[in-house]
């Protein structure tokens, strides 16, 4: 069960899960997709509990989105209202929950992809005949994200070490302070992107050139089995919503 699955199967899983959860508006279908996402994530080796624990920081944001959706989208039964003003409605809550389901599936999809090494994922994308530039951009993005995050952290730390008590500041001043941080962060990001593009040019990289590779991924029985199961389950879930095609 807990084998090392082929990155192409993981890409397929992620495409199906995100595709269905984004385009389907039925809450029950989306709930089933979320459930399926957790099971598949577990099967490919994601530490689901740990990932959910990391997501706890976004809980306030997710609940706020449900409430805001409910305030602006109204319809159906009114659960909470002041006179003529509806605060929480059936349609608003439904849309809010659907949004949260989509966010959960997208985050877990990232976790599923990250269980393969970047080299394997890139090779999988190439063998799937996806544009090489897409694989290259993904690879560069993943490779440099930790470096950029490190620089953002250092900038934040250096601002705090200036001796400014951020908590004492009025919200307006605090926002102004955060705005100032963007200057060095954007500057260093652009500088790094420029250096990187120069370095790629120096290595003779040309867009569209065919590349060969000694490294080759081979689909094994358990990869095919998982891929087929996911497709069948996704079709069954869609069938109960749209009906008639199975």
């Amino acid at each position: 069960m807990f084998r090392d699955y082929d990155p192409r199967v993981k890409i397929l899983i992620v495409m199906i899960l995100t595709g269905v959860v984004v385009f389907d508006n039925n809450l029950v279908t989306q709930g089933l997709i979320v459930f399926l996402t957790f099971i598949l994530a577990f099967i490919v080796g994601v530490n689901v509990i740990n990932t959910l624990y990391k997501m706890r920081r976004f809980l306030t944001l997710l609940f706020s989105i449900i409430i805001i959706q409910s305030l602006f989208v109204q319809g159906g039964h009114r659960y909470l209202y002041i006179g003529a003003i509806t605060l929480i409605s059936e349609k608003g809550i439904t849309l809010g929950i659907a949004y949260v389901f989509r966010v959960i599936v997208i985050i877990m999809s990232g976790a599923i992809i990250s269980t393969s090494s970047m080299r394997n994922t890139m090779q999988g994308m190439v063998q799937l005949k996806l544009p090489y530039e897409l694989a290259l951009m993904t690879s560069i993005g993943v490779r440099f994200l930790p470096i950029l995050m490190g620089e953002v952290r250092n900038t934040h730390v250096s601002m705090e070490l200036r001796g400014i008590d951020v908590n004492e500041l009025h919200i307006k001043r605090r926002l102004e302070l955060i705005g100032r941080l963007f200057v060095p962060i954007v500057y260093s990001t652009l500088y790094r992107a420029k250096s990187l593009s120069e370095s790629i040019d120096m290595r003779g990289y040309i867009i569209g050139e065919k590349r060969s590779s000694y490294y080759h991924l081979t689909l094994r029985k358990h990869d095919i089995a998982l891929g087929v199961i996911v497709i069948i389950v996704a079709l069954v879930i869609l069938n109960r919503n749209y009906g008639g095609f199975i």
Binding site: T155, S158, R162, L177, R180, S188
Partner: protein
């Protein structure tokens, strides 16, 4: 009582596989407030990590970092910044403003306000760092050495008791290294303690500093 004290520090790079990623094991170090200390060591041995443990940016897995005999974790980051200045390897990341005046006054603009005393300190810092000619030039157009001096200036504006410099000679030519030497000596002679992290042996030899060598596992030898 030492100004900074590290007691029985264990630190692992990867918390999941501690046996393979142990950087420091039972590291002990005491630094007086008026000392000039340099830590040297091979690349990747943990010099920058050690300096980040001292300012509380990284937390040890075991042991304590004490600043004026109080656990560093009991301080707020801004309180540490008022006692210890930290110069990052890349000074660009600690410059947020367009002009030198705005940059040096940044902490006061968002803090206690700009008083006459602060303005006087600004004049002194500009003079000490030989930045008089650069004050009207946008920071982005300054040379690497000038940017580094501005970053040091932002630290000195806080009137710290101690400063830490992480590899300050990286990317500087000999002339700029000589300028940096003069600045460091000025700072030290004003009674501010200095902890220099460097692997530039020539630069270190030219300074009146106590040299500590950091070795594998966090062993420190004089």
């Amino acid at each position: 009582m030492a100004f900074i004290e590290l007691k029985g520090i264990d630190y692992h790079i990867n918390k999941k596989n501690k046996k393979l990623n142990m950087l420091f094991e039972n590291l002990n170090l005491a630094i007086e407030g008026n000392e000039f200390i340099t830590i040297v060591g091979a690349n990747g041995i943990g010099k920058t990590t050690l300096s980040k443990l001292i300012i509380g940016v990284l937390k040890p897995d075991k042991g304590q970092v004490l600043l004026e005999n109080i656990n560093i974790e009991d301080y707020k980051r801004y309180e540490i910044g008022r006692k210890i200045g930290y110069l990052f390897q890349n000074p660009e990341i600690q410059l947020f403003n367009a002009k030198i005046y705005e940059e040096l006054m940044f902490a006061y603009e968002f803090g206690e306000g700009i008083s006459d005393e602060v303005r006087k300190r600004y004049d002194t810092v500009i003079k000490d760092l030989s930045l008089e000619k650069a004050v009207n030039t946008p920071i982005k157009q300054l040379s690497q050495g000038e940017k580094q001096r501005v970053a040091i200036g932002t630290i000195l504006m806080n009137n710290p008791k101690f400063i830490i410099l992480d590899e300050p000679t990286v990317g500087l030519n000999q002339e700029l290294i000589d300028d940096l030497r003069v600045i460091l000596l000025k700072i030290y002679h004003k009674g501010i303690g200095v902890l220099l992290i460097s692997h530039d042996n020539e630069f270190v030899k030219s300074l009146p500093t106590k040299v500590l060598t950091l070795s594998k596992g966090g062993r420190i030898s004089v």
